[in-house]
Structure formats: C-alpha cells, structure tokens
C-alpha cells in the first residue's frame, strides 16, 4: 500500500530558495543569564558564598586562636598592608619566586629540547625526572645551605629544583603527544632541530607547557613558603612564610590567616590574570583548548 502511494506522488522541485533575512537577527539574552554565562561573575559568586560560610562559622565558635572570623582576618590584613609590612613581605617572596621560576623554566626548556633532539638526552631526562621529581625540594634545603650558604642562593636552588622537574615532565609529555602528521608537516621543508623544536614542537605542545607552568608555579610557591617557615629570614628580609611563622610565634592568629589569605589571593590572581590571559591569547584562540 505504501509503495503504491509513493509511485503516485509527484516530484517536488523548488526553483527558488528565499533567504530567511531578518528572521535570523541575533537576540540578546537577559542580563542575569549573561552574568551566569560569564566565568568571572560565576566564580566571584562562589567565592562570596564561601566567605559568608567562613564568617558565620567563625562567629559561631567565637575563638580567635582556632578560627578567627573573616572580618578579623581582613582587619589584620588591612592593618599589615597599611603599615607596609605585608607589601614588603609579598615583594620579597615574589621576587625570589620569579627569579627561581625563570631559572627553572629556562632549565626545563633546555633539558626537554635536548631530550627531544637526542636519544641520550631523552634517557637523561627520563632518568633524572624519575630520580629527582619525587625528592621534596625542602629536603634539599640543608644541603643547599651547606653548598650555597645562608643567602638567597640556597632558596633559589630549592625553588628552581621544585619547578624544574614537574615542568620538564609536562613539556616532554607535550612534545611526545604532537601528532605524527604535524611533525612531518614541520620537518617537510627541512628544518634544523632547534628551529623545528621552537617553531613546531613547542607551539604544538603549548597546552601541556601551560599546564606545566601552572603546576610548577604552585610547586614553587609551596617550596618557597615551606623554606621560609623552616629557614626564616634571609639576608634581604623575610617573605610571607617568614611573616606567618613570626606571627604564629606571637599567637597573632588573624595575621597568620591574613598571610595564608594573601597566598591564596596571589594564586587566584595568577590563575585569573596571567595564565588565563596566556591561554586566551594562544591555545584557546587557536582552538587547541576548548572552553569546557
């Protein structure tokens, strides 16, 4: 029955197709939906919610030595900022961290380039990362103090050590994950090894490189703060870790929390401003990293 019906149906041929025109004009979402679609405002909402929980819980236990309220912590923070203590401490830590970071990143790029261009370099990197990556940087501090003395050099050594290995592992994994097609397309015009790494492998591995930069940034921070807690102030004056340790000795717990809060805020700023911007301008723009 169906087939009989089909045979009697006439063909349909549309001679002219009209464009939809105005019907497809873009409509705007309502304000609250636009806000919810904006990453920054959604995350800010989350942070505010957590802050409110903290304040309520802090007030309910009412014991500054265990958990000071958020308002007490903020108060301590503003005071130390106003006195100029906190900015100086932050600056000391940041300068040290950036210096160690630069050394670690440079070494990681050097050693991974060696590893991807030569077989021996590959063996070296694999062995060294397997040996040294699990070694807590802070455990090297006593040794570093013997080698480099009680100055900044010891701190730089442990910070650079904590940054180098996780970053090298990430960059190397990124290089190894570059597709064979892309490698051949890059080698096709006959590039020499160094330009090949710089112009093809490195940008192709950038998603891994950036995630390595993030991870090693956190590792560097932790090591630095821990080293400052253990080792105290160096010749140029202490950093945030030193601030926290000193305030703990004085039982000024809101200041201890203020120090921790500053570390958290710097972490948020790094992620939100530096790394996010770096990703937006590179891997997201190139479609190598999707939004979700």
């Amino acid at each position: 029955m169906g087939s009989a019906e089909n045979t009697t149906r006439p063909d349909l041929i549309v001679e002219r197709i009209d464009k939809p025109g105005v019907a497809l004009l873009k409509a705007r979402l309502p304000l609250w939906q636009r806000m919810l679609r904006h990453d920054g405002s959604r995350r800010a909402l989350l942070i505010i919610a957590m802050a409110v929980c903290w304040e309520i819980y802090g007030r309910s236990i009412d014991n500054d030595l265990v958990l000071p309220t958020l308002s007490a912590v903020l108060n301590a923070l503003f005071k130390s900022v106003a006195e100029g203590v906190m900015p100086a401490r932050v600056w000391n830590s940041m300068a040290m961290l950036l210096e160690g970071y630069a050394i670690g990143v440079a070494l990681a790029i050097f050693i991974t380039t060696l590893a991807i261009t030569t077989k021996l370099g590959d063996d070296l990197l694999t062995t060294l990362t397997a040996m040294l990556n699990p070694l807590p940087a802070i455990a090297l501090l006593p040794l570093a103090l013997l080698w480099f003395g009680l100055g900044n050099a010891s701190m730089l050594f442990v910070v650079a050590h904590s940054i180098l290995w996780p970053l090298a592992l990430n960059i190397h994994a990124g290089y190894q994950g570059v597709s064979e097609t892309l490698r051949m397309a890059g080698r096709n015009p006959g590039l020499k090894p160094i330009p090949y790494v710089a112009r093809v492998l490195f940008p192709a591995a950038l998603p891994s490189v950036i995630s390595g930069l993030k991870v090693s940034w956190a590792f560097g921070w932790r090591t630095l703060i821990a080293a400052e807690l253990v080792f105290g102030a160096s010749s140029s004056g202490g950093g945030i870790g030193w601030f926290i340790s000193a305030k703990r000795n004085d039982l000024e717990i809101p200041d201890v929390f203020a120090g921790l809060l500053v570390i958290v805020l710097i972490g948020l700023a790094m992620e939100g401003l530096v790394f996010r911007e770096l990703e937006r301008r590179t891997v997201r723009r190139w479609g190598m990293l999707r939004d979700r």
Binding site: S179, M184, A185, N188
Partner: protein
C-alpha cells in the same frame, strides 16, 4: 582568479616550462626500493624492490589496497623514512632527508599548524627559501591561497575551517613552495563524497594552469582514473609492482571505466592467502 597576483602565477608557469623543455626525461626515479619498519620485535616489510619513474608533469598515481606500502613509498620519497634497499633519486640527487623540493599534502585534517592562520601556514615552509623576501613570500602565499579559492579565509585559524577548506589550504601551502614534485597522501580520503569530487576537479584545473608534477597515493580506483595520467598498481604484503598503466587525458568515460574494470580484476585476483598471512 589566477590573474590576481601575476607575479606568483608567472613564476609557477616559467618554472614548469623549463621542466617541459627538457622533454619527458625522468624527474623522480625510484629504483629497487625495499621499505621495512620495526613493529614490536619484528621487522615488517612494507614494499619489496619497487621501481618506477616519474616524468615531468606526470600525475602519477600509486594505487593499491591497504597494506601495499603506498603511503610508506610516498614517505620514503619525502625523505621521512630511509629505504632498506634501493635508491630514490630526484633530479639525479639521492633523497636522504626531507626537503622543500618535495612538499607533501597529508590525508589528516590536523596537518595545518593550529597556532597559525591560513596565510601564516602557507608561509611557514618558505623559511627554507632564503632568496625570497618577506614581501615575496607573502605575495606568493596569497596568490596560492587565491588559487585554491580561500582568499576570504587567509586570516582564519584552521579550527575555523571545514575539512575541505583545510585540505585546500594544505594544497596551497605545498604548491606555494613550487616543489619539484607535489606528494599527496590520500588527501581527499577523509572528505565526504561531494567535497571529494569537487576537490578532484579543482586539482585537475590547477594542474591545467600550472602543469606541476605530482605523486598521488590513493586506494580508490575511480579517483586514480579521474586524476591520474599514469597509474602504478601495487599488490599487498609486501607491496610489489603489479602494473603501470597509462590513462591519457583525451580518454572519455568509457575508456576510463574499462581501465577501472581492468585494475579491479587485477587487484581481486591477488591470492587471498597472501592477505591472510598477517
């Protein structure tokens, strides 16, 4: 369309005319090439003593079923793998490593660098052309992009393009280098039938304009007879030459279909046993 950037177009034709003046001498010679690659602890033989010659302005097709080593042969010509036996010569020079005189177009859509726009991608291999100025490179790249019909998309990133457009861009990148041989590794295999057909026609039109030499790998018999002027039929496991057939331009549909039939029978009569060895 071709005339928009006359500088680039002229150089193309001039380049290939000098080739034509030499007559039908061999441009690329593959002589007794055996290709092997390690697979686990074994050594797999991809091709066994394959020989063929590609002449100027040939549209030379390597045709065969999967496992006949046609892609490996193309990669050997490109210089990505070394023959275990035999030599490959381009203009009398032995091929030992990749070079800008043999530009390759791959099957995969990810052959364009995602961090470069179409224009930047096309300009990428030109660093190997030291004598070209930046202006020159840019002009040649734009003219090449224009020839494949992507002029509007020169500043787009690859992830913003469709599969067919990516392959067009890859062809533009390879052609802009004016290589001695254009190597194509099943460039249209991952496209839908309609786009594939369109790109095949465009490639033939480009060849009509520029008369380049190309070595084209495919497993599709109809594609071979559409595009090729000369077809090398390979048998699988390991790849060996089964036949080398001409497919002249003046042939009509009937002759081409007869050739397709001939090749199909040739490939089907390969004993099943050799296929079941692995």
């Amino acid at each position: 369309m071709v005339q928009q950037s006359p500088a680039g177009a002229n150089i193309h034709t001039r380049h290939h005319r000098t080739g034509a003046l030499r007559g039908q001498d061999t441009l690329l010679g593959v002589d007794g090439v055996t290709l092997q690659y390690p697979s686990g602890s074994d050594l797999v033989t991809a091709t066994w003593r394959v020989s063929f010659n590609v002449h100027h302005m040939d549209r030379y097709i390597l045709l065969g079923p999967s496992g006949c080593g046609k892609s490996s042969l193309l990669k050997a010509v490109a210089g990505f793998i070394q023959p275990a036996e035999g030599v490959i010569r381009l203009r009398e020079a032995v091929v030992q490593k990749p070079g800008p005189d043999r530009m390759m177009v791959f099957q995969e859509f990810d052959q364009l660098f995602p961090w470069r726009t179409v224009l930047e991608n096309v300009m990428f291999p030109m660093t190997a052309r030291k004598s070209w100025s930046f202006r020159d490179r840019r002009d040649r790249a734009l003219s090449s992009i224009d020839k494949v019909g992507l002029a509007q998309f020169a500043d787009s990133y690859p992830h913003q393009l469709s599969g067919g457009m990516k392959q067009r861009a890859a062809i533009a990148r390879a052609m802009a280098m004016e290589p001695d041989v254009l190597l194509m590794d099943e460039p249209f295999a991952a496209l839908d039938a309609l786009t594939r057909r369109r790109l095949q026609d465009e490639l033939l039109k480009l060849w009509d304009d520029l008369r380049f030499t190309m070595l084209f790998v495919t497993h599709a018999i109809d594609e071979a007879t559409r595009i090729g002027s000369r077809i090398l039929v390979l048998s699988p496991h390991p790849g060996q030459v089964r036949a080398e057939l001409a497919c002249p331009d003046h042939w009509g549909a009937t002759e081409r279909r007869a050739l397709e039939q001939q090749i199909t029978e040739m490939l089907l009569e390969t004993p099943e046993a050799s296929d079941g060895q692995r």
